[in-house]
């Protein structure tokens, strides 16, 4: 088979399997395994097993379960709940205060763990009822939670960036620095949107009643004190990473220890907490890693047949200016994001895209930030927007899937705007690493 036919068979085959509901983890891998079996017989299968083994044996991937655990411990011990309550001190008086408060908490949560599902579920349980009770517009409430909850993929420590760094051989520390300002910029755009909307249409975000907003000084102090610890944990992890006291993986393990310590101080550390955390980490990793295994099998087999060279020459053959190709790549990522999740997209496209982008003289660090920004959209775009599924699981029944997806569009537009800004002004990403590294 020629590489053109192979490409066609793989793309069509995988899309067919995906749409008929075959799990992501097996669709990609099955096509790869079938292809290599047909061309090389059973002995070719060793290639797939070897690629999977290489990932299992990669120390760098240890960061994934560590950051997952850290987030789970903070969530299960009630620390994140405290955080949301405490932030009401700042959110109380401004327009759209509850929504702004939700976004601020999202950023803090993102800095502590960055498990999208966990964050959205948590905010759906804490912030959504609060906003609905206050009479917030359903769509504003839902959109804020899902867009905010998705920030976990951007704000360091982000698992997306760790995997991007590993796949493309770029420095994870540098990526973390580069993504900081763009991530905050995106969160800032959300906050700005909420505040503008709340002042144009006050009925979508009613202010709190006078007695609700009132809190004694002692109450405030008590609330604030409870947040010192989780914020210290997040800061500690980031300090470890940026100063190089510990490697990113050790920093992640330190983060788990810090999270356990804050659970202990809060009085909610228990054997059950540890058991539940370990069990859930096992499941989350099993889910993520088998998708990674499938994708690595596919990309290995495809490149074995000369796939990367084929796509590269096809893209270069378009004879478009670099900027047009960059925009084309962003569109491809956007479309893929409607059907796949970030890790599949990353492993399939980045080994091909990044060398091309580097060939144009663009910075791979900057491209990585663009990629995570793009993946923000993939969380929200139908028909496969994981954020919507996560929220639906905990939202009241009268919030339909249609409501949820409709609420996303303003935020998707803001994400597109942020990508545009980042393309026009790469300094937003590259300034911080250039100053600090």
């Amino acid at each position: 088979m020629g590489i053109e036919i192979i490409t066609l068979v793989l793309v069509v085959g995988i899309l067919l399997l995906l749409f008929t509901g075959v799990p992501l983890a097996f669709s990609t891998g099955a096509m790869a395994a079938a292809l290599i079996l047909m061309e090389f017989g059973p002995n070719g299968l060793g290639l797939i097993a070897t690629r999977i083994y290489d990932l299992m044996a990669d120390f760098a991937f240890v960061a994934v379960p560590m950051f997952v655990m850290m987030g789970l411990v903070l969530e299960k011990s009630g620390v994140t709940n405290d955080l949301f309550r405490a932030m009401s001190i700042f959110g109380g008086r401004i327009r759209g205060g509850l929504a702004v408060q939700t976004l601020v908490v999202s950023v803090l949560l993102a800095a502590m763990s960055g498990i999208i599902g966990g964050e959205i579920v948590l905010l759906g349980l804490i912030a959504l009822p609060e906003m609905l009770k206050r009479g917030y517009d359903k769509k504003l409430a839902v959109g804020t939670i899902c867009a905010g909850g998705s920030l976990g993929t951007m704000i360091p420590p982000s698992i997306v960036l760790i995997v991007y760094g590993l796949t493309t051989d770029t420095g994870v520390g540098e990526l973390f620095l580069a993504v900081l300002l763009p991530g905050l910029m995106l969160a800032g755009l959300y906050v700005g949107y909420v505040m503008v909307l709340a002042s144009l249409k006050p009925e979508v975000a009613p202010p709190p009643s006078a007695d609700e907003a009132d809190m004694t000084r002692a109450e405030k102090r008590q609330l604030l004190r409870r947040t010192v610890l989780p914020i210290a944990v997040a800061a500690w992890v980031l300090i470890c990473i940026y100063t190089g006291i510990a490697s990113i993986i050790e920093a992640a393990a330190m983060g788990v220890i810090g999270a356990l310590a804050s659970a202990a101080i809060r009085g909610t550390l228990s054997g059950r907490l540890i058991r539940a955390t370990c069990g859930e980490t096992l499941r989350i990793c099993g889910m993520i890693m088998w998708i990674v295994f499938g994708a690595t099998a596919l990309i290995g087999v495809y490149n074995f047949f000369g796939g990367a060279a084929f796509v590269t020459s096809a893209i270069n053959g378009l004879d478009l200016p670099p900027l047009a190709i960059l925009i084309l790549m962003m569109l491809i990522l956007f479309v893929l994001g409607m059907f796949m999740d970030w890790i599949g997209i990353l492993l399939l496209t980045m080994p091909i895209f990044v060398p091309i982008v580097e060939g144009f003289g663009y910075d791979p660090i900057w491209f990585g930030v663009l990629f995570t920004m793009n993946m923000q959209m993939s969380y929200l775009t139908p028909p496969f927007g994981p954020a919507a599924f996560y929220l639906k699981g905990v939202a009241p029944d009268d919030i339909t899937m249609g409501d949820i997806y409709k609420s996303f569009w303003p935020f998707i537009a803001l994400q597109a705007l942020a990508i545009g800004l980042l393309v026009a002004f790469p300094e937003i990403a590259l300034w911080l690493p250039s100053v600090l590294m």
């Binding site: 992501l24 044996a57 120390f59 099993g286 889910m287």
Partner: protein, 167 residues
């Protein structure tokens, strides 16, 4: 990100979940020994060379075995946009297709893993550096066992969806 359908009838066999729970404590062990290593290195200036390989062995095993649990519980991520629109009977047929694809893939991975694991065990393969640990042998064997377990689970799922489709 819908969890796959399994009409709520979860096999309650402790055969998979109990050992898996035990395996999952590997994560806690990793946190502990990595914390210990940092302390040893900074306070006592005695870096522990065995920690990294140990952690990779535990975490790598958890990765593979996690997939067994997720398949057993039917929670691998799948796109359900189309699936949700079709009638029940077609859904049953799609369940059968998903189980068949999984079984074929896992059997093929299992075969590849067997080729690799057999070679690794006969050569008594070790990492060759530092602690010179048996990491390659361990992880290649774990992958083999996980793939076989998952293939067996997928075959039982084929059987069940076939029965449901016929019945």
């Amino acid at each position: 990100m819908k969890r796959s359908t399994d009409d709520g009838r979860k096999p309650s066999s402790p055969l998979v979940l109990k050992p898996a729970e035990l395996v999952s404590y590997g994560f806690a062990v990793c946190v502990a020994i990595m914390g210990l290593e940092v302390v040893m290195r900074y306070l006592f200036n005695t870096p522990q060379i065995w920690v990294q390989d140990m952690v990779v062995m535990l975490v790598g095993s958890c990765f593979a075995i996690g997939g067994v649990v997720v398949l057993y519980e039917g929670t691998h991520i799948r796109i359900t946009a189309l699936y949700d629109q079709v009638p029940k009977r077609v859904q049953r047929a799609l369940d059968l297709l998903a189980a068949v694809v999984a079984a074929v893939y896992l059997a093929l991975v299992g075969y590849g893993a067997w080729v690799n694991a057999r070679l690794s065990l006969t050569l008594n393969e070790t990492t060759g550096t530092g602690w010179d640990s048996p990491l390659p042998m361990v992880l290649k064997s774990v992958l083999l066992v996980s793939a076989i377990l998952m293939a067996i689970i997928a075959v039982t799922q084929i059987y069940r969806s076939f029965k449901r489709l016929a019945g």
